[in-house]
């Protein structure tokens, strides 16, 4: 997916993922799976905003406001985090019109 259209993609956390809080990180596990993942503070912030309603760009804008950073800088980090989480099959992606990505 091209970067420009990826910014419009809407990520949604997969149902049933087990979350276990750590001091600055988050441990994720899909029941029945043999792997677990740890999200650092940045990835955790992205993960928590992946509610199936916000686009990647909207998540980046919200985090830029929260951390007082330039939206362009944040967008790259958010895009990378969403791609990584999708590759780990922890997120589902769809287009603004609802088509699965």
């Amino acid at each position: 997916m091209a970067d420009s259209s990826f910014a419009e993609a809407i990520p949604r956390r997969i149902d049933g993922v087990l979350e276990a809080g750590l001091p600055d990180e988050l441990l994720l596990h899909v029941p029945g799976d043999s792997t677990a993942s740890v999200l650092n503070a940045t990835a955790r912030a992205v993960w928590e905003l992946c509610d199936g309603r916000r686009s990647v760009e909207a998540i980046a804008r919200e985090l830029a406001q929260r951390f007082d950073a330039a939206p362009g800088e944040i967008l790259t980090s958010v895009r990378d985090a969403v791609r990584d989480l999708a590759r780990l099959q922890l997120l589902a992606l769809s287009s603004p019109d609802g088509t699965p990505g």
């Binding site: 087990l18 276990a20 809080g21 750590l22 001091p23 600055d24 990180e25 441990l27 596990h29 029941p31 677990a36 740890v38 999200l39 650092n40």
Partner: protein, 281 residues
């Protein structure tokens, strides 16, 4: 000609018992060596402990056959393989009878109010390090499998006889490590901790030739992942294992100890830096 007598050796853990039967004295001697601190005399007047498994070992012309009660297939091999199989099946039987605990592939030792959990993969130096700690005055809990009570962080003693790999002090492939011979670590009975001990810290162990001893902090996330990786009964616990690994990693100090000299590593853990935080030696 009369059939040879079958004798039984009983291994006890937490009110449970695994019986090993054989007419081959060398097999029973192996069991007694492998579980010296856990072997008990046969009961008089009825069983107090619950027998969770019975292993039967028969001497053949070309080796031995070991079968476990309730199992479909028997295993065959030389005496060394029988020793390995007995350690494995005995540990497994106790684990399957106590699945509410978080069993981790680790060594553990206690000194005063400190309880150190030493997780590490095969060949990482757990047994070498824990025997060095015992030489330095620590008390021994286990060198292979540590059952943790998630409600209290207490490690229940599982004092198999430690087995230390003998080999060159240099980096080896995983296959080469597995092929190394083992010798029993010297263990005085007075050094064995018989009561559950609260784990206060986690030290991930890694053997590295040429390094004396280095202790470094580990993030809670990495500690949680490594605890899960070493969990021996994840299939029983599932989500509870994930939650406990995260809780323990968030609550307990976690570090990595890289060492090539186990006595230097023991001194490092023993010293003020070992008790308090990061140190290098």
């Amino acid at each position: 000609m009369t059939a040879p007598d079958v004798r039984t050796v009983r291994v006890r853990f937490d009110g449970l018992c695994v019986s090993v039967e054989s007419s081959a004295p060398e097999v029973l001697a192996e069991v007694e060596r492998a579980f010296r601190a856990m072997v008990v005399d046969p009961p008089r007047g009825g069983d107090v402990d619950t027998v969770v498994a019975t292993l039967s070992v028969t001497r053949l012309d070309d080796g031995y056959e070991i079968s476990k009660s309730g199992a479909e297939a028997a295993e065959r091999g030389p005496l060394a393989e029988v020793r390995r199989a007995i350690r494995y099946h005995t540990t497994r039987a106790f684990l399957e009878a106590r699945t509410e605990w978080f069993w981790v592939h680790a060594a553990a030792a206690r000194r005063g109010g400190r309880g150190v959990l030493l997780p590490g993969s095969r060949g990482s130096g757990k047994s070498t390090l824990v025997t060095a700690l015992v030489r330095a005055g620590w008390r021994y809990l286990s060198d292979e499998a540590v059952p943790l009570d998630p409600a209290s962080d207490r490690a229940v003693p599982f004092p198999l006889t430690p087995e230390v790999r003998m080999g060159p002090r240099r980096s080896l492939s995983r296959e080469a490590v597995s092929a190394l011979c083992k010798r029993e670590g010297a263990l005085d009975r007075s050094a064995i901790c018989r009561e559950p001990a609260r784990i206060t810290e986690i030290v991930f162990v890694r053997f590295a030739p040429g390094v004396s001893a280095i202790l470094e902090p580990v993030t809670a996330g990495e500690a949680a992942l490594q605890l899960l990786d070493g969990c021996l009964n994840f299939q029983h616990l599932g989500p509870r294992a994930v939650r406990y690994a995260a809780e323990a990693a968030g609550r307990l100090a976690a570090r990595r100890l890289t060492f090539g000299d186990e006595d230097a590593a023991a001194r490092l853990l023993d010293g003020p830096a070992g008790a308090a935080g990061t140190a290098a030696s």
